[in-house]
């Protein structure tokens, strides 16, 4: 199979393709480093409060873990979806390296489908949580009767003041929505980036000689996936 006629454009500040590629790769790794600290700060705050307000955190994760399809929690479904999408991402990089453009396009679409599926499940979760009344807005936070009863029971078991526990419970939800929300934002950006990749792939821009963009955006997706691997046990499996 002959190589695609397109040559790789080298930006004027770079000496050659190799240098451009090296710079782009290092650039994405450095950027992901900043993202680690970004999410790390949030996770640090969450973990500190988990230790301080364990009862409330436990109550929170009972709800997050309880939204289930076919007996499996939505968080676990999301984890499965994202892990599979990372597989399709890795395969799409491989497809580019082997010059298999049609396979690449299919894999890109598959990744986007999984990404959108993730977002869909998230949306369903958020809707469910809205109905449970746990969105931590000032006037929006009114947990329904079942949740409130659970809270009271937990308060009595530990001797805690129910009003205090309610406040801590609300804090859990603040962290939950903040962390999953920022993560979801990154997913939406990821789907957008993959749309860009798809458009260019359909124009045949990615060849074994010029597939840096696929690799770099793939790295971003892997990172967002990795963040979820941390968020899932932290938010859903508090025991």
């Amino acid at each position: 199979m002959t190589e695609a006629a397109t040559t790789v454009h080298v930006e004027h500040q770079f000496d050659d393709v190799e240098q451009q590629r090296e710079a782009a790769t290092l650039g994405i790794w450095a950027f992901l480093g900043t993202e680690v600290l970004f999410f790390g700060g949030m996770i640090c705050g969450y973990v500190v409060y988990r230790r301080l307000y364990f009862t409330a955190w436990h109550q929170g994760s009972l709800i997050t873990d309880n939204f289930r399809f076919l007996g499996i929690s939505s968080g676990a479904w999301n984890t499965a979806v994202l892990l599979t999408s990372s597989l399709t991402v890795a395969l799409s990089v491989r497809a580019t390296q082997l010059g298999q453009n049609r396979a690449l396009i299919k894999l890109l679409i598959a990744t986007m489908v999984f990404g959108i599926a993730f977002l869909g499940i998230k949306a369903a979760e958020y809707t469910h949580e809205y109905h449970e009344g746990v969105i931590p807005g000032e006037s929006m936070f009114h947990p329904d009767d079942e949740v409130t009863a659970d809270l009271h029971r937990a308060a009595d078991n530990t001797g805690a003041n129910p009003a205090t526990l309610r406040g801590q419970f609300r804090l859990f939800w603040l962290f939950y929505f903040f962390m999953t929300g920022v993560h979801a934002l990154h997913m939406i950006i990821g789907v957008g980036l993959f749309t860009f990749l798809l458009i260019r792939a359909r124009r045949g821009k990615y060849t074994p000689a010029s597939h840096a963009q696929v690799e770099i955006i793939g790295l971003y997706w892997h990172f967002v996936d990795l963040v979820w691997i941390f968020l899932f046990p932290l938010l859903y499996l508090v025991k």
Binding site: F54, D156, N157, T158, G159, N161, T164
Partner: protein, 346 residues
């Protein structure tokens, strides 16, 4: 108050001289190195000034021995500073057991001070000379700081928890008190005076306002009103002899710990009983967070402190020593104390 120009603050506490000596040490070391470096630079700049435009000096890449010497020596000196400073600090943060205790509440923008004998004051603090004083402090709103420069002490005063500060005033006189953590509009006016008197004057001042009720008396009233004696001494750990002892507790995660029953522990147990539960007792105490103000908490704590046996400070096991905390007969027991329905059978 002496407002004349001063080069250095007065030394008016047991700590001040120690801090000043430490400062002099650092000043000496710093001055030595600063003068050494500046003199060297000045000398080099003059002696090696460019004398003709084309001159090219010898190139010297470095000297490993020199690098080692001027790494090791500063490291050694700074470690001396660290150890000395740590010693002074630990002493400053460790009040003696027999310190006289005074409560402080900071709020925007004033200091309310409560002496255990009953006398209260605003923005002034009367203390006797020569006795250790321990301040237990909290804030009602934002973070403040109780700073007495002439004593060389300060500590942040936080909402939601207690902090402590202690000193022994060594000189009779009046000294500045400043709030030293920015707390809003009138932060610069949250200042006051510490009045150190000799013991006789202090006693006279304490007795000066007979209408003030000592906090422990108010505390005893609260103890009855909220029905603490209903449980404590029978179903719940007795409070007699509790204050100051070490207690075996389980925390929220079920981890076993030993803590000292100080003011902070008492405050936390009243507001968040689930945080530390005495080993061997069920988790039944309700929280009084929504019912008690900071001032009432201080009063209750003062009362509980009076229940301490003077003697040994061994480990406390919350043993049911019988009704050790019965109120005096003059006060009627309140039937059906509030929150009693919190403990309905489940």
């Amino acid at each position: 108050m002496d407002t004349s120009f001063r080069l250095f603050p007065k030394e008016a506490s047991q700590l001040a001289a120690r801090v000043d000596h430490l400062v002099l040490f650092l000043l000496g070391v710093s001055a030595f190195f600063a003068i050494l470096i500046f003199a060297t630079i000045l000398f080099f700049v003059v002696y090696y000034r460019r004398r003709n435009p084309g001159e090219r000096p010898p190139q010297i890449a470095g000297n490993t021995l020199l690098e080692i010497v001027w790494t090791v020596i500063p490291t050694g000196l700074t470690m001396v500073m660290f150890v000395w400073g740590a010693k002074v600090f630990v002493a400053a943060q460790t009040p003696p057991a027999d310190a006289m205790e005074i409560f402080v509440i900071g709020k925007q923008w004033m200091w309310e001070i409560q002496h255990p004998e009953g006398r209260r004051e605003i923005d002034t603090l009367h203390v006797p000379v020569g006795r250790a004083v321990k301040l237990t402090m909290t804030s009602l709103d934002v973070i403040h700081d109780f700073s007495i420069p002439d004593f060389r002490v300060k500590q942040d005063v936080r909402p939601g928890s207690y902090s402590t500060e202690w000193f022994v005033p060594t000189q009779v006189g009046q000294y500045r008190l400043f709030c030293d953590q920015y707390c809003g509009a009138k932060h610069a006016e949250m200042i006051g005076t510490v009045i150190v008197c000799d013991p006789a004057q202090y006693a006279a001042w304490l007795a000066g306002a007979p209408s003030d009720v000592p906090p422990r008396v108010a505390g005893e009233k609260l103890f009855l009103q909220y029905g603490c004696a209903t449980c404590h001494g029978q179903y719940a750990p007795t409070l007699a002899g509790l204050y100051g002892r070490s207690v075996d507790v389980l925390d929220e995660h079920g981890n076993h710990r030993q803590v000292i029953a100080d003011e902070a522990y008492l405050r936390e147990s009243i507001l968040y009983p689930e945080a530390k539960m005495v080993v061997g007792y069920p988790n039944r105490m309700p929280s009084f967070k929504s019912s008690l103000s900071e001032e009432q908490l201080m009063q209750l704590i003062e009362y509980i402190k009076t229940l301490s046996a003077a003697a040994d400070l061994g480990s406390y096991h919350g043993a049911n020593l019988g009704p050790a905390t019965q109120p005096s007969e003059a006060q009627p027991r309140i039937e059906n104390p509030p929150f009693s329905d919190f403990r309905t059978n489940r």
